[in-house]
Amino acid sequence: MITITHYLVLSAILFTLGVIGVLIRRNAIVIFMCVELMLNAVNLSFVAFAHYLNSMQGQLFVFFTMTVAAAEAAVGLAIIVALFRNKETVNIDDMNIMKW
């Protein structure tokens, strides 16, 4: 029997994977995909809660999250492209003109 706990643990694991990915990866696009992973982990928990609580709001929330994530992806990729045009790299370790 798959309980709510299973879903939550899976979502927590996915979320943590996303966080770790953001911390250790270098390619800006991959980092962004890790962020998307975090968001989807949250979506999973939302749906699980919605099912468990028998309420629509969680599912509703997921739709909005996906829409927002799509918008974010569009903007994020545009920003990365703009940067790539100027710098010809997407390695975030090369990006520290501003510090201290």
Binding site: V22, L23, I92, M95, M98, W100
Partner: protein
Amino acid sequence: MLNLVGLILLFPLIGAAINGLLGKRLKKDTVGYIACGAIGLSFFIAILVFCGLVLLPPEARLFEKQLFNWIESGSFKAAAGLQVDPLSSLMILVVTGVGFLIHIYSIGYMHEDKGYHRYFCYLNLFTFSMLLLVLGNNFLLMFIGWEAVGLCSYLLIGFWFEKKSASDAAKKAFIVNRVGDFGFALGIMLIFLTFHTIDFTEVFHAASEGGFAVGNFTITIITLLLFMGATGKSAQIPLYTWLPDAMEGPTPVSALIHAATMVTAGVYMIARCNVLYMLSPFTMTVVAGIGAVTALFAASIGLVQNDIKRVLAYSTISQLGYMFLACGVGAFSAGVFHLMTHAFFKALLFLGSGSVIHALSGEQDMRKMGGLKQHIPVTYKTFLIGTVAIAGIPPFAGFFSKDEILLESLVHGNFVYWSIAALAAFFTAFYMFRLLFMTFHGKSRVDHHVMEHLHESPKNMTMPLMILAGLSFCGGFLGLPGASAIDSFLSPVFGGHGHAEISMSGAAVHQSEGHPYLMMVISTAIAVAGIGLAYQMYVKKPELPQKLAGQYRLIYKILLNKYYIDEIYNALFVNSVKKGSLLLWKRVDAMMIDGSVNGVARLVGWFGNILRYLQTGYVRNYAFYIVLGCIFIMALAAFGR
């Protein structure tokens, strides 16, 4: 009309702002017009406000205009409002009226000065501050005005800051005043602690209705602290020493600030707080005592001074002493009356002396004057009127006000007060006529070069002199004994006790009723005696003073050196404080305090530098901080329960 009261404050402020910000680029004439125009408008509004107040029935003559609440938090409330009542309306008339004349005079007097716009900016700012002091409806606002006039006074004494003596005098004035202000500030705090408000109306209402017994200890302390402030600002013993030095400033400044208006702020404050003072007979005795002693003390120094402005400065201190004496015996309206007449004739005398100095290209020593009567006739005539007024010859203004004080000091005080005051009046008549004779009569001792440039002052300087002379002549009729307009006008402010009810005994009051005319004769006789002596010594037998000085060398030297008070203060306070502070600076401050403060500053700076390196510029580090923070918050939420 009373609603216009805010404008009185506004015009000088605007004038100061324009001259201060743009003065450099404006033409000299424009600067002068702006400054005078501002004060003139303010004077005009003051008249309107005064008329508005007079039209009200006497009981209703209190108008408060709440400007705004600044901060309100819990029980602390800082509001700003203006208060028009007979006392403040009289004061604004004097401040703006005399101020206006002095502004006009200044156009001529300061015409050649480089700092023309700076001068008028300060002067307008001073007028604004003084009006704020007078019109404020609570102690805090009064204190702000009090400090602001002190600041302007400092700036104007040190106006010619290239001269070392001027900047020293400015510093001295500032520091001595600080001592008094410290007491004033403490007094205000104590008032807030006692009454939980600093609003005049509320404080005085609470004081009179709140069941404070006469002689209440807290009230005594409060009034003494306030009086400490007054001794600083109004140059009374022991804090008077700054005023003679303040004569380093331009002469119109001496006239406006150090004779007519600012120095009377202490008297105004005590009159304003009459309810509190009436509750403390002890403080009243102190006020009267210090006033009487100062009056005599300063007058005696004035007897032998040779600098024309210094004589006038000591005369101012002495006259202020009279006002405090009047307040101290409970005759507040007599004090305020004298304040007003004094403003007229002392401003006149200072401006007259300024005209003399102007004519003599800056000479201030009376031993190098003499015989100026024919050369500067207008100045002479007006100066004569001022001198007669201060000496107390009827029917000039000074006679009525001084006579009233003498009378009150006998009726409500005692014979000691009266005799001190009478002696001081004798001295006053003497030194003022000595000044007049030495300056305008006798043989000319003026330097040849100076003689060639000798000239009467321009119209814009003599006009104010003539107007002030007129006021010095007729200002006294406002307070005719028996039918005093000023007494009845001020009586709402001073409750029933315009003429004190703390009098020693009812009998004294009755007894005195037959006396006023006798007293008038006596005080006139005193004045005439002083004048006669001066005439003998400086016109009839000019060699007599020399001989007397030789005979009574010790007394003469003591007087000439102003009782060595400055030297004593230097030895007692200034030097010991200097030495002590040197010690503190070298040992305590440099080693311990500086060490620790610099240490802390360096530590903070060092810390800031370390923290900078946390800002690596790498996204991954920043994300890591976020994760760390998240873990930290979780830990806090989990274990911090």
